[in-house]
């Protein structure tokens, strides 16, 4: 069922993480699982790109990390979307849609 995993485009990982955290606060591997699930395995986020991205977003002030107990009772660092993060998500969504439209217009043009 899953096709080959897609390579993450530069900048899309931020959008994926912000969108995922828009549902509810989650910790690292839960975010990766969720992204993989929703995109039907198209995006497999590895720890090597996940954690630097999380910390970068946290430094930007878009998400906030805090220690919590996970469903399995493990102590995990869970991230919440902040107010600034919500605004950033709107901006990035808009940018992404414009990119997609532009790409589609190009791909579907005659010839």
């Amino acid at each position: 069922m899953p096709e080959d995993a897609l390579e993450l485009l530069k900048g899309t990982l931020d959008l994926l993480i912000l969108r995922t955290l828009d549902l509810r606060p989650m910790h690292g591997s839960a975010i990766a699982d969720r992204i993989s699930q929703v995109t039907r395995g198209a995006f497999q986020v590895k720890a090597g790109s996940l954690f630097p991205a999380l910390h970068r977003l946290e430094q930007e002030g878009w998400i906030a990390g805090a220690w919590e107990a996970s469903n399995e009772g493990r102590r995990v660092r869970s991230y919440t979307l902040t107010h600034d993060g919500k605004r950033q998500l709107t901006v990035e969504k808009k940018t992404w849609r414009r990119t997609v439209q532009a790409m589609n217009a190009l791909l579907e043009s005659a010839g």
Binding site: H27, G28, S29, K46, A47, G48, F51, P52, H55, R56, Q59, G61, G65, S70, E72, R74, R75, V76, R77, D84
Partner: protein, 878 residues
């Protein structure tokens, strides 16, 4: 708001570094545990599950490094780490560190010295409001360059020019102040009313001068004094305003006191001191035909110097028509030039030369240090390999190595700054009167900033190449090889190239220094036409009011001479005005009286009393000296020098008549004697003809010449007492040996020579250190090879020959390249030389010989070491 949050986070990161690390650690291990548990849940054995989880994560250390890079303030952290690391690694090799810092401190210190000097002299604006609107107007008229304006012309310029706001005059004079029973000779200036407003200065006390009020019919009524004089002689008493003092035998009122720290900066040809103590009013009398007053002016806002000069040319055409007597049919030329440019015009070439030399010193220092870094780098290769293996990227290593360079450079700059302070003080002592504006030299914020800038620049210059080479790991594999290997051929070639560059760079300063030395020696040997040895001079001013007639003045002078002659240790005494090589000389246009139409020649004029030639030691070639009879009024006789005689009367000068032209007047003087050519204006100037007249109706001061073996300081009290006893009412000044005048005249060359010599010595020293260091290093690296050669039957001489040959080869290659560079540089400083050509063979050959000797010297220690190589030990070592 966002920036505030970011700054807050930056501080949180920098302060909460350990907590952040702990959090990251916990977060990642939690992640790995979770993945492990998942793998176990899928049925893997725990060991395998953990291994797979770690593998999937792909290097926890690397993830951590990448996460850290996202943290704000990470750069600062890294820099701090690098700095600590640099200190640790430098402490481990103190010898290297000391040599590098010493080398760079010389380079940076020398450059900061020059920067401080250039800033004070050329770059810092003059301390007057809008200094780039202040100009000096040079007047060339009657075939004489820079002869000064007439008052009529100044008045006309004021009335007609649209380019200038103020046109004012200043004349440097002397003042003899008598106050509270004490007489003092002081530097003074006569100024037109708008001169001080032109410089934007107002008295701190009292009022400015107004020539309508302050200059009476025959005499000055009021003066301004300096803050310095006010504090020194009048105890800074505000009641001094309105006080009457005696100046130059006249009673004058003190009208005002100028502000503290006010200095007068004018071009050298005005010969005004920076610190003027007494200011006289100077009314402009438009009818006076007298020429010779320097003119300063202020451009109107928005007027360019080109426009002002264009206007001056149309005005001078009017002046030629209106004041025919002042031009005598010749063309006039008025040129406005920026005051600051005029002040520094004569020293620009010298400063350029010194800047070039000092830049060479810094380049050599950088090359030297780069070389040392390279040599050290091959030793450090292993350490760097380990760091690379542990995940440090090339950028990270380059950054770390450059940090090390920067730490070295900054330490050197700190020492260099201290050195520059000493250097500038030394220059101050050397060049007191030869470098305009140098009283402003100081180590201030811009100089300190320049030190920082220079260290960044030099650290890049000497650090980039070795850092790049090392980080690129050209010799990859040293980690695997269990021992240090001989440096790659590439590295050795680079090191040799650097040494060649270093030697090449040291040639130019050496050549310039050599040329300056030759010039100086030639100047010392230049035939002056007189003998300055064992002569003490003193200038004796006297009042023309007190002695209105020539006979009275001569009687006074004879009285002084008689009194001085009886002083102990005096062999003979005479008097003249002005002295040869004194800063102020009278020039006149002269010609043959029997050829009135011929274009006049410019000549220097001097008054002398009978016997002067004998005392100063000017040989009389033909004819006779002046006699007492020549002093009678109306005796129109002259003694000319050989230069004048040859030019005007190649057929023989005695008995001919010399025509001396003055405004609206011509005097014919009979030539009674011819002396050897005398250098009067400067030791450098050999072509200006000179003539002497018997002491006559002119001077207000005469200079005594005392032949004695005693020093000027020893003679001074006696001379002062003798002059006071003759009751002329003025104090003698400038009691100094005649040799001082000669030294002053070649002082600019001596200054250049000494500074250049210091720079040249520094560059040769650095080149020698570089040559020695490289040879020692390369030789040490080849110990094994030499051991093998010896074991195979090579003679010790052959091995030593290899080392010496290498040194000489490097040095001569460098010298050859350097000579080409040196020729370009020396050609540009032709005007500073005297009696040598820029391509002077002796100098260049001397430079090459010196460099060859340095090369041999540098090779001697390594060669000696090589000669002692024991083949067995060398093969076992490593």
């Amino acid at each position: 708001m966002r920036t505030v949050k970011k700054i807050a986070r930056l501080f949180r990161n920098l302060l909460g570094r350990d907590r952040a690390e702990a959090t990251l650690d916990a977060e990642l291990s939690s992640y790995v545990e979770e993945q492990t548990d998942r793998n176990i849940a899928q049925g893997m054995p725990p060991e395998e599950a953990r291994r797979r989880a770690l593998l999937e994560a792909g290097g926890i250390a690397q993830i951590k490094e990448e996460v850290r890079e996202t943290w704000l303030g990470h750069g600062i952290e890294i820099a701090w780490q690098d700095i600590r690391y640099a200190f640790r690694s430098l402490r481990r090799s103190p010898g290297f560190t000391v040599v590098v810092i010493a080398t760079l401190a010389i380079g940076i210190g020398a450059n900061l010295t020059m920067f401080g000097l250039l800033r004070a002299v050329l770059w810092r604006p003059l301390p007057y409001p809008e200094p780039n609107r202040i100009v000096m107007i040079q007047v060339d008229a009657r075939n004489t360059p820079n002869t000064g304006a007439t008052m009529g012309e100044v008045a006309a310029l004021r009335a007609r020019s649209r380019s200038f706001e103020q046109v004012s005059m200043i004349n440097a004079v002397d003042a003899n102040l008598e106050y509270a029973g004490d007489m003092e000779h002081l530097p003074a200036a006569s100024i037109s009313d708008d001169f001080l407003p032109l410089l934007g200065v107002r008295p701190q006390l009292g009022r400015t001068l107004d020539s309508h009020i302050d200059e009476g019919k025959d005499q000055v009524l009021a003066i301004l004094i300096s803050d310095d004089l006010w504090r020194r002689r009048f105890s800074a008493d505000p009641a001094v305003i309105g006080t009457t003092v005696r100046v130059n035998n006249l009673s004058v009122q003190i009208a005002g006191v100028l502000p503290h720290g006010f200095r007068l900066y004018l071009p050298p040809d005005v010969s005004a001191a920076e610190q003027i103590d007494v200011w006289f009013p100077y009314a402009i009398d438009a009818t006076s035909p007298y020429r010779g007053i320097p003119v300063a002016a202020r451009l109107r806002p928005g007027v360019t110097i080109e426009r002002a000069n264009a206007e001056l040319q149309t005005l001078v055409a009017q002046f030629e028509r209106e004041f025919p007597a002042a031009y005598a049919g010749s063309k006039g030329r008025f040129t406005a030039r920026l005051l600051h440019d005029e002040m520094t015009r004569e020293v620009r070439a010298a400063l350029f030369l010194l800047s070039a030399a000092v830049a060479f010193v810094l380049l050599i220092a950088c090359v030297n240090v780069a070389n040392l870094m390279l040599a050290r780098g091959s030793v450090r290769q292993r350490e760097l390999e380990i760091r690379r293996a542990l995940g440090a990227g090339r950028a990270r290593i380059v950054r770390q190595l450059l940090t090390e360079s920067l730490v070295l450079a900054l330490a050197s700059a700190a020492i260099g700054l201290f050195g520059a302070r000493l250097g500038l003080e030394a220059i101050g002592r050397l060049s007191a009167s030869h470098m305009p504006l140098q009283s402003r030299v100081s180590i201030d914020t811009p100089v300190a900033l320049a030190a920082v800038g220079l260290s960044v620049l030099t650290s890049l210059l000497f650090g980039l190449l070795p850092a790049w080479r090392l980080a690129s790991g050209k010799t990859a594999g040293t980690l695997r090889a269990g021992r240090t290997e001989t440096a790659g051929a590439g590295a050795r070639r680079l090191q040799r190239a650097l040494v060649v560059a270093e030697v090449a760079l040291s040639i130019a300063p050496l050549a310039c220094g050599g040329l300056m030395l030759r010039s100086f020696v030639k100047l010392m040997q230049a035939p002056l036409g007189f003998n300055p040895a064992n002569l003490v001079t003193a200038t004796v001013p006297f009042s023309l009011k007190q002695y209105p007639h020539t006979e009275q003045r001569y009687a006074f002078l004879r009285d002084v001479l008689d009194r001085v002659r009886t002083l102990p240790g005096v062999e003979s005494v005479s008097a003249a005005s002005p002295l040869p090589l004194a800063s102020y000389q009278e020039t006149r246009r002269v010609g043959r009286a029997d050829q009135p139409g011929a274009p006049p020649t410019l000549a220097t004029q001097q008054f002398a009393i009978p016997g002067y030639l004998g005392v100063i030691g000017t040989p009389l070639i033909e004819g006779r000296d002046f006699t007492a009879a020549d002093l009678a009024p109306g005796r129109a006789v002259t003694i000319v020098d050989e230069g004048m005689a040859k030019r005007l009367w190649p057929e023989g000068a005695i008995g001919k008549f010399l025509a001396v032209y003055r405004t609206g007047r011509q005097d014919n003087l009979e030539v009674v004697g011819v002396t050897a050519a005398v250098r009067v204006t400067r030791v450098r100037a050999e072509t200006i003809p000179h003539y002497m007249m018997p002491y006559g109706d002119y001077p207000g001061e005469m200079s005594l010449l005392v032949k004695t073996r005693a020093t000027a300081a020893a003679m001074a009290p006696g001379i002062r007492a003798a002059v006071a006893a003759a009751k002329g009412g003025r104090a003698p000044f400038d009691i100094r040996p005649m040799s001082d005048y000669v030294a002053d005249s070649i002082g600019d060359t001596r200054f250049l020579l000494l500074v250049l010599a210091a720079f040249a010595a520094a560059s040769v020293l650095l080149a020698a250190v570089g040559l020695y260091g490289t040879l020692a290093y390369l030789t040490a690296r080849r110990t094994r090879e030499f051991g093998i050669r010896l074991a195979l039957g090579s003679s010790v001489q052959a091995i030593v020959g290899i080392v010496v040959r290498e040194s000489v080869l490097l040095a001569t290659t460098g010298a050859a390249v350097g000579l080409v560079v040196a020729m370009a540089v020396t050609g540009a400083v032709r005007e500073l030389l005297y009696g040598v050509r820029p391509m002077d063979g002796v100098t260049l050959a001397g430079v090459v010989v010196l460099v060859a000797l340095v090369a041999l010297g540098a090779a001697s220690v390594p060669a000696w070491r090589v000669a002692r190589i024991d083949p067995q030990t060398s093969l076992r070592c490593e």
